[in-house]
Symmetry: C2
Subunit: 327 residues, 2 copies
């Protein structure tokens, strides 16, 4: 048999296994997607028509808000309600060293022995915009594998979170009452893409203040037909988690209702395609400049202050656009 | 006189005024840069040969760490040392509504009556990567206007911060002892681009733990010839701020020393050009897709699950690369 034929058979086996809910096939498929290989893209292409059944939920917010604990608690509630759960935990990582801290993985250890839970921790590819691509790819695979609910947890708060939020059907924003400034400075942008707000660690001083601040921000935010509820939880003792699961379900039902479905779906897809395109362009930018003398020439000119960095960037953008079109 | 001639005279007046340290000219120049106009780009092009004298310092870190207070305290210490100070405060803002919360501006009110301080608050342009471009442009203008030190404060922690950090000559990472997880999950990436680490609010419980955690992370981080010091401060009472100013000066001297200058300068310029190019490409992406039927067609296909979002994004990337090359 030719290598290409072996390859096709291998992919077929992975896809069939995955669609039958085989955990090992699912794990192998995610690994292929994570490595950003042609195989990974082919798998995603083939399974996509079989996605759309799961409810994808993004859990985001600032560091120290207890997101991992909340994700764990939410997974347990979903299990009690008879649902299978996929978890994509995106670890913080270096844009330069590609290192990742795996604390969150350890905290979810008790869930890993449950056959109805599939957990995957992944490191971001740093600055290249790959995070969103890999995480949503993994979520699509879990969806196609028949998991009912897919939780995507992201740490930190930045462009990556915005991308993950547009990729998930329901986004939960988790705030920490501890830091007073936190809610205030929590970007209005995140407010507008979150469908549910949670003040976690609600037993700490400042929880009610945080809720009040969120309400104020919400009043000036732009939220379509769904008005985001603001909940208090104490994830480590499961307090408020049942109600959170209820609100998540309500948003799902709202989104699936006839009058909103098409608009929601198209907005969702638009955000996904634009984010993925941006990620592709960023990768091409890095790849192109790595093998191009233009950048080195421009660096010399700017370092000597013979020209300014902005006009240098405009020239570089033109040169690489020209190159890309010749692909 | 023709409009074009009036325009040239106006720009000449702004540039001359700015180079003589005239505050009104500096303010007008920043406004032109903020509006991303041809005038703004022309001003930046013309003043760039006159930059490089100021010390640009990025202050970054997570929300609630007290960065604004720290920036204020640092500005006052620099003033006592006889230096003039520019401050670029980047407010959090929405990627969708372009709204901004101006709390930080209010907190620095007492500095605004000092003629040796020039403060400018700016809203990010959201997701388009404009933040870094506008903030570094404003810093360049302050540099050309003769201000000795330029402090750039960014709120939140994400790609924007990484970009601001590569644009500043010295980057200070501010952590909050309050949140235990915070330092842990504080991306290794930010660790590697910060030249000075600060645990602010050092009177709170957990400060020593935070310092210890930062030391651990630092040990595995990749830092060239400069080993980042870890300092404790209480910005609201000025404690530790003098020492912070000393360490910032030490880093400046290190960077300017003969053996490091060329490498530092080239790395700095490389980061700046690549970030600006990325910002330009992102803006072109948004502009191109706004007037292109390809995206709408692709959205329809993906919404119907006839094709997957990744292959749609690849097609879109190719179509717009083709378009850009025809500019």
């Amino acid at each position: 048999m030719l290598q290409a034929e072996i390859n096709i058979l291998e992919l077929e086996a992975i896809i069939n296994g995955l669609r039958n809910g085989d955990r090992r096939s699912l794990a192998r498929a995610i690994t292929k997607v994570e490595s950003d290989s042609a195989d990974g893209r082919e798998i995603l292409r083939q399974i996509y028509p079989h996605t759309g059944r799961a409810h994808t939920i993004g859990i985001t917010g600032s560091a120290g808000a207890g997101k991992s604990t909340l994700v764990g608690a939410l997974a347990r509630v979903q299990r009690k309600r008879g649902k299978t759960v996929g978890i994509v935990a995106v670890d913080p990582s270096s844009p330069f060293s590609h290192g990742a801290i795996l604390g969150d993985r350890i905290r979810m250890q008790d869930l890993t022995s449950d056959d109805g839970v599939f957990l995957r921790s992944m490191a971001s590819r740093g600055n290249l915009g790959g995070l969103s691509e890999m995480a949503t790819g993994a979520a699509d695979l879990m969806d196609a594998a028949g998991l009912d609910v897919v939780l995507i947890e992201t740490v930190g708060a930045g462009q990556d979170e915005v991308e993950v939020a547009t990729a998930a059907q329901t986004t939960v924003l988790v705030a920490n009452p501890g830091a007073g400034d936190e809610v205030q400075s929590m970007k209005a942008g995140l407010m507008e893409i979150a469908q549910i707000m949670v003040v976690n660690k609600a037993d700490l001083v400042g929880a009610d203040t945080a809720v009040a601040q969120l309400k104020t921000l919400l009043a000036i935010a732009d939220h379509g037909s769904w008005i985001p509820p603001i909940l208090k939880t104490i994830a480590k003792t499961d307090e408020g988690i049942d109600m959170l699961a209820d609100e998540i379900q309500k948003h799902f039902d709202h989104m699936r209702s006839e009058e909103h479905f098409d608009v929601e779906r198209r907005n969702h897809v638009r955000g996904q395609i634009i984010d993925l395109t941006r990620a592709i362009l960023q990768r091409r930018l890095i790849a192109t400049t790595a093998n191009d003398s233009t950048l080195e020439t421009l660096i010399n000119q700017v370092a000597e202050r013979q020209r300014d960095p902005r006009s240098a960037a405009l020239e570089l953008a033109d040169v690489i656009s020209q190159k890309w079109s010749e692909y």
